[in-house]
Amino acid sequence: MSTAVTDVTVPAEAVDPAPDPAAPGPRRKLPGRRTLILLLVLATAAVYLVVRTSAPADDDNPWAFRFFSGVRDWVDANRDTSPLFLYGFNYLRLGVSLLVDTVHGALYGLGWAGLVAAAGALAAVVAGWRIALLAVAGFLSFGVLGLWEESVDTLVLTLSAVLLAVLIGVPLGVLAARVPAVGAVLRPVLDVMQIMPTFAYLAPMTLLFLIGSPAATIATLIYAIPPAIRITALGITEVPKSTVEAATALGSTRWQLLGKVRLPLARPTIVLAVNQAIMMALSMVVITALIDAPGLGQTIVQALERVNVGAAFDAGLAIVVLAVVLDRITTHAAHRAAPTTHRSVRLRLAGPVVAVVAVVAATVLGRMSSWGAEFPAAWRASFAVGVNEATRWVEFHWYDATEALKNVVSAGLLDPIETVLTTTPWWLFLVVVLIFGALSSGPRAAVIAGLAVAGLVGLGLWQHAMQTLATVLVATVATMAFGIVFGVLGARHDRFALVMRPVLDAAQTMPSFVYLLPAVALFGASRFTAIVAAVIYAVPPVVRLVERGVRDVPATVVEAAVSSGSTPRQLLWKVQLPMARRGLLLAANQGIVMVLAMVVVGGLVGAGALGYDVVAGFAQREDFGKGLAAGFAIVLLGVLLDRLTQGAGRRADDNRLRRPAT
């Protein structure tokens, strides 16, 4: 530690209140806290039994629906007259449309051979020849799967959205890191954007930007921009203070500091931000098929409508391949952007030249020859038939088992929870959220969660929100159970982790839609289907976080426990899991937000409640207001769940920091 840093950081400690010697240790405090919570739970139960309702149906036309319908009617009537549209949204739409068409023209202009060569060349220049081979093979596979145009359309939308996300997100990220006020304003906005389920964006998008590629690009942009901003800000903040100070001491201006020191040093992190933005964009682009975006999403939506698991498998595979190629290119580029990798100047110049020559050659050859016009049909292959046969077999042979499972979970778990939630008067729910929220996450989080509850009431979708909540809770419990089991196994057995990693990678890049299909095929249209899809969707990141949490337990602690004679089981229960608590809570927070997003998509396949309201909202004119209100309700539900769990995570962290190491 340099004395400079010590000198400067001391005040922070100085502001920190000194530990209160009079406060009893947490150990002695715990029983009291437990009793209090137990009493509160009992009291809540008693109050509930007295005041429970008969779950009256929501008002079917509350002011919120009428208000949103009114907004829609106004927009419809004034789309071509109001200056807001004439000079605002319509221009945005045109501009984005221009961008999409330009990217489209550029990619299609290359021809398939040229585009494959371009992908390979780009990968070779920024990421090395191995990745270039992967990129070439990956792009060829789109043609082989018979999904060339769809894949390129998806790529076009993704690139357009990511381009915008980077152009807007990186400067915002820099601002957020450098100007505290901007950071403070952006943080809650990004929080909400990140917990907002993708589904909720779509109706407002069509309202403002109509259907088609521009609306899809903007929706994707909104989804992809938070990580771009966040990670950029992180990269800028992490630039070593000593380097900045040295450059300042030499008389750099603010812009010189930014351009010559901060941005170059943050470059690998910024490339990582681009990587994250691409990944997010890919998963959103698929969903925008619902508002007439072209590409693989269309294939998947259509497959969903026909319950054609095979067709969805091919398209899902193409998306995973696209995701893997883009991910590898950008992560390797980030690695290479790191200041610690140096390549000779000659290589740096020669690479791009060779690459450009290769692309031009492939494009010209492709355009001149007959096979270049369209991807050769003879090379095609598809998994659809095989997958469909397997699905049919499973459907036929497992029908009774899957029915039984569905019925047991629905009747034994889902229905009771749903009944309790829907028959609880909203004010009791609000009180419970406030009290238990304050206990678990602190007063601030409790107030925000309480406001979210009040918002749900105000939107007139209370019953539907509670039904969705019940489904989310069941799915979250299942997700955590699977996540912890696999995460702990992965943390304790390297070989298991090694096998699991590629599976998790693929699962995380697969668009959420794809998960609906096997679930529908197995369980028909039901809430349980949504739960299954949500669990499949949310388990991979939870596994990751749990595994990391357990692995992050310091080796010295584990060593000490082992040397004092702990069995592996004791080690797990008494050392690793308790110390990984923070990781587990973070996993729960992530899991619950992802589960919510998927349960809502489950509205497409019979999960009902808020998800269905959203779907119906953009399918049926008279339900528009309800759909938009449901979109907001989902956001509020997300805020509620996020605040309660995230707060708990932070609290656990504080406790651990305060508690003397034992």
């Binding site: 202009g109 969903l304 009747a411």
Partner: protein
Amino acid sequence: MRHVKWIQLTAVAAALSMAVAGCGGAKSDAGSSDAPAAGSKGTVKLAINPWVGYEANAAVLGHLLESKLGYTVDKKNLKEEIAWQGFETGEVDAIVENWGHDDLKKTYITDKKVAVDLGPTGNKGVIGWYVPQWMVEKYPDITDGANLNKYANLFKTSESGDKGQFLAGDPSFVTNDVALVANLKLNYKVVYSGSEAAIIKAAQQATAQKKPLLFYFYEPQWLFAKEKYARVKLPAYTAGCDADPKKVACDYPDYILDKIVSKKFADANSPAFQLIKNFKWTNEDQNLVSDYITNQGMTAEAAGEKWVNEHEATWKPWIPATS
């Protein structure tokens, strides 16, 4: 495709620059272009609504447009209401099987004047509540809607709680089911399967495994050629009884399915427009094509081609005389 996009690009750029130059802002249809692609007479943008019967119409029309008239066909998978919005933006030229939608007709044809009704497809549309045939044999009076409450217990599922389940389709379909259940005081809960395919799968399972099922279904529909389902009679439809969607207490009307095209497309009066205008066939024709698509593993394009090859007499009169 490639050329079309470049032309669109120029159109968008032109619209953008024109609008920027002070021509009064950008309208919602700015940037769309109908300029024909090179080597083709033009592009026809067909909406594809999510049921197989619709796809059958589109498949046959698409094939005729491409192979006989030399157009490029751009098929867009859109739900019904979204497809109607496409008339306004220029994303959609034609909807080739429309079920009623009087409210949309009022908005887009009468008020906004962006669409035109091109008359019936020849298909008669029936929407109703159905049960598998085995149930009719076992419970003969089940086809009377008045008796549904008596049998509600049969239809209980994990999703309907202590009520009977009514299985509906895609949320975008024309439905009054929720209002019907409420207004006829039926002890049922509407559960949405999400798609036509999901209803069909449930119906097939109900027949094969003799499971009770009450569901939303419609004709023309190829499934009726394979298996029997009985319609449950609800209070008869009278003109105007469905005027207020929240107060509907009568059965669905019979629909004369029709074709809607955008005003621009109609005004151009191209051969493509003529063909769509002339298009007219029977429920049997459509079911045949639907069967090709659903049960014989054909793509829509292949099914359309097969039907066209085998039924020249039917489609010959549709082709406009000038071409």
